[in-house]
Amino acid sequence: MIHAILKAAQALLVPVAGVIAMVILLPLLAGYILLVKRKIIADQPDQRDQPDRPLAPPASAQRLLQPFEDVWALALQPDTLPRHADKLLFWFAPMLAAAIALLACSAIPFGPAFPMADLNVGLLFILAVASLGIYAILLGGPSANNHDSLDALRSAARYLSYGMVAALALASALMLAGSLSLRQIVQAQYDQGTWFILYAPVGFFAYLAASIVQVRHPSGDPGSGAGFLRALGILAEYANMIVFAGLATTLFFGGWLRPFARFHDHFLSTPVEMLDALPALLFLALAFYGASAAPQQRSKAHKIAIGSGAGLCVLLAAVMAASLFAAPGVMAAVHGAFWFLAKALACLYGFVWLRFTFPLYRFDRLMRVAWQFLIPLTLANLIGVGVAIVLREQLGVNPFFPSLVMTVATAGVAAWLWGGRNERGARESASPAADGGW
């Protein structure tokens, strides 16, 4: 009896530890996304008028402690409440948003060792949980009892329309993978010997566009409150960005697979997989950079911070190198996590850069782009990917050739749709009645 309980506890130990680590690490990651966002905005020639001030341009290594300062400042700020607000719902909505966003992150496989990767409907679970976010929007907006109600309705319409675009875009990767389990999706990319972005680039583009619009911009919303509630809102939105990065990595960029994962199959004569040494070398280079930058810092605290960062990199390099000689399972887990995080963070950076460099369309135009451009485009993409798969399997030609042809065809459809959209837009703006500002 006791033995059985102990065994069950042991089996649960790893998942529970992983879960607790993620609940702690995700807010930290969100803080660093905020830092990167502010850096990106500060790099722009015309720093738009942002409620959270952009960083002064020389954002050096000493800014690495900034997220802690941000959290501290937000936590100590008094909460604001619009005068006629429904207090319960006004507080409940951001808390709901944060809880939902954290839960959506939970099923992302940050490596082959993550237990959640085995969920047989993993992708469906993430999409379902993420779509619950609409409740937070629709509860939060009207609860303020001010003009945020209309804003919430617009956000909801945006969220629904682009959520559908995202689902249709992901379906094209599903057709290639043939499974909803995230582990199977990654495995399919290994078996087919390529990342799915090469087979369904239009699907990835549509998913990226849809995710950019779906993520709200809480720090810019006047109704997003201050202090604790605003911190929760920021956390929720940045967790949604992490969900995007995780799903894009899993479905389109080969998940935790190393680039050129099947190199060894083609060059059997190579004694070791040379590419597996890459993570360790990368961390060593980072450590070297940190060690050379540390003495040039201004204050002693910064020197210590940068120096210990370099030390951490040495440690990580040692872990990466040591895992090469460990059991194959350990090696796959450690290196898989490294590659997944590397790809996901690259996706995340690209996403944040795009989101905060280019201004978003006005609401009515956003809706027009969704319904007149992206939805027909994703449908055409589904058909294109389907035809490519059938051609590949029936005729047995080189798999890239039909994909290339169908991608060009889909791009033609995109150009045709976009041209029609612009014509119509030009006609409307020529007529005096068109202001579209509802």
Binding site: L12, V16, V19, L76, T80, M95, P115, L180
Partner: protein, 119 residues
Amino acid sequence: MPAPYIPLLIFALLSAAFPFVALAVVRRMRAGMDSAEATFHADESEIAPKLPPRAEYSGRFYLVAVMFVIFDVATIFLFPWAVKFSELGVYGLLTMLLFLGVLIAGYFWLYRVGALDWT
């Protein structure tokens, strides 16, 4: 219960608890401070709005909702089809073209009557 769902359940409980724990921590941090809740006019700028907050909404929001339901149900049908696509082969492609054809015909009708225009 399948094994992968147990950590998921733990995760659901922890994520639900997270905002409340964070709230408790923040309250504790602010304990010694003057933390009276600030109350503002509706738009936080202390300028009273001229219109009531619950003004008329455009009927297009209902249109979006209805179209969303139609297209989303179609998406739900597409997901299992997409998962089994490789096994269905040409038959799967043709039947789905039929299904999408009906949807696309409806889409063109919506386009014609101007339901997809937002002005």
